[in-house]
Amino acid sequence: MPEGYFGQYATIGIFVFVGVALVFGTLQLARLVRPNVPSYEKSTTYESGIDPIGEGWSQSNVRYYIFALLFVVFDVEAVFLFPWAIVFERLGTQALVEMVIFIGILAIALLYAIKKKVLEWL
């Protein structure tokens, strides 16, 4: 392996490159062997056999923007949790109490969201 901090990320780079090559290589291989007989019927939008009505990009109700907001909150929390999880054993009780307070505040936020009934998928 390439050594050191940047070496590790170089490995990730190589791996991603090989992964992308694998996917696109297979798609190219398929292009060589598959038939290509386009027709109008084939390229219409599929709506269970009925002619499509209106556009596919129709207005839809994004019901979960509150869920998405909460997700950001808890995902950012995870960013704080991981470094803490590694070192809290050395810092002792103080670190644990701090995390109890931190998670307590988040839990109250979640409880508030539940009480406000924003976590209902209508």
Partner: protein, 333 residues
């Protein structure tokens, strides 16, 4: 004995080749296992003909069949995004295999931030699903993509919290360190704590793979195959089948590594050391995959609102409480 010295780049090439062979082979075996395990759980035989012996070549034949299928891109679709989406779904799944330790030495790169990398890369597929759903210009696909996005973000958090618990118990984010600290697998030893984390992980993993009972995004009886409705041929394989199987094997490996002791023997008896780590790892991964397959014919599909409620009002509070309980356990017990 042999005394071979290899340059570091040669070792890297060998490792990458091995791991990238594991991905498709794992997916093929996983697909076959799915056919067979489900069939036998439902008192059927499943595929019996391809390859002769118990239909072992079924998934291989399926893959070759899909290679020869026409690639249809609907006229209304956004061509570029539509054709890139399968890669955007598949590549992150391949990337997760980078840090899974198959054996003490057989890991492409033992990152210091292993778990964190897994979680970060694992959430990238959501973008691919949204790309697929939106670019198809199809109502089923759009609904499916929105559902998958909502589901993937909701069930990512239980997995994150379970991973935090593991990191706290091991005191490290490196997957090799995590395996080495498990004299007893985490699912067994801190009694209760590890097992609850394991359950959180398993439920979250099934939902992340959008498998039954959490398969609302691809519910065939109402929205065909959700975001993949318009896909055909090899692109469909990458977007859906290969991705789902690759995901399943990856989650099996991650579960085996984090909770079942990875390449270590299941119980710390020196006598068991003669069995190589690869075998232990494969056995545990297959056990995890069997769990995922077992869940499928057992439970009915969960409705979309029940699904969200279950994640936000039950799994996440349990996960948060578990993190604190684990903290107390590590410090005082």
């Amino acid at each position: 004995m042999f005394d071979i010295t290899l340059a570091t780049w040669q070792i890297l090439v060998i490792k990458i080749i091995v791991i990238l062979t594991v991905v498709p082979v794992g997916a093929l075996v996983g697909g076959y296992a799915e056919h067979k395990v489900m069939a036998h759980l439902q008192h059927r035989l499943g595929p019996m003909y391809p390859g002769g012996f118990h239909g072992w070549a079924t998934t291989l034949a399926d893959g070759i069949k899909f290679l020869y299928k026409e690639d249809i891109i609907p006229a209304a679709a956004d061509r570029k995004v539509f054709s890139l989406a399968p890669a955007a779904i598949m590549v992150p799944i391949i990337m997760t295999y980078l840090v899974i330790p198959i054996d003490r030495a057989l890991i492409v790169e033992d990152l210091d931030v292993g778990i964190f990398y897994l979680l970060a890369v694992g959430s990238l597929s959501t973008i691919g699903l949204l790309m697929a759903g939106w670019s198809s210009a199809n109502k089923y696909a759009l609904i499916g993509a929105l559902r998958s996005a909502a589901q993937l973000i909701a069930y990512e958090l239980p997995i994150v919290l379970a991973a935090v618990v593991v990191a706290m118990l091991a005191g490290s984010l490196s997957l090799i360190d995590i395996v080495e600290t498990q004299n007893w697998p985490f699912a067994i030893w801190p009694p209760g704590i590890g097992f609850i984390a394991f359950l959180l992980f398993t439920v979250g993993a099934v939902a992340e793979m959008t498998r039954v009972p959490f398969d609302m995004p691809v519910a065939e009886s109402e929205i065909i195959t959700g975001p993949f409705t318009e896909y055909s041929g090899m692109r469909y394989i990458f977007a859906h089948m290969f991705a789902e199987m690759g995901h399943m094997v990856a989650f099996g490996g991650i579960g085996a590594t984090l909770f079942l002791g990875g390449y270590q023997p299941i119980v710390p008896i020196p006598f068991l050391d003669f069995i190589p780590g690869v075998i232990w790892f494969s056995a545990k991964t297959m056990f995890m995959i069997f769990l995922f397959l077992w869940i499928r014919p057992t439970f009915p599909r969960v409705r979309e609102d029940q699904l969200q409620k279950f994640a936000w009002k039950f799994l996440i509070p349990v996960g948060l409480a578990l993190v604190l309980v684990t903290g107390a356990w590590v410090l005082y017990v």
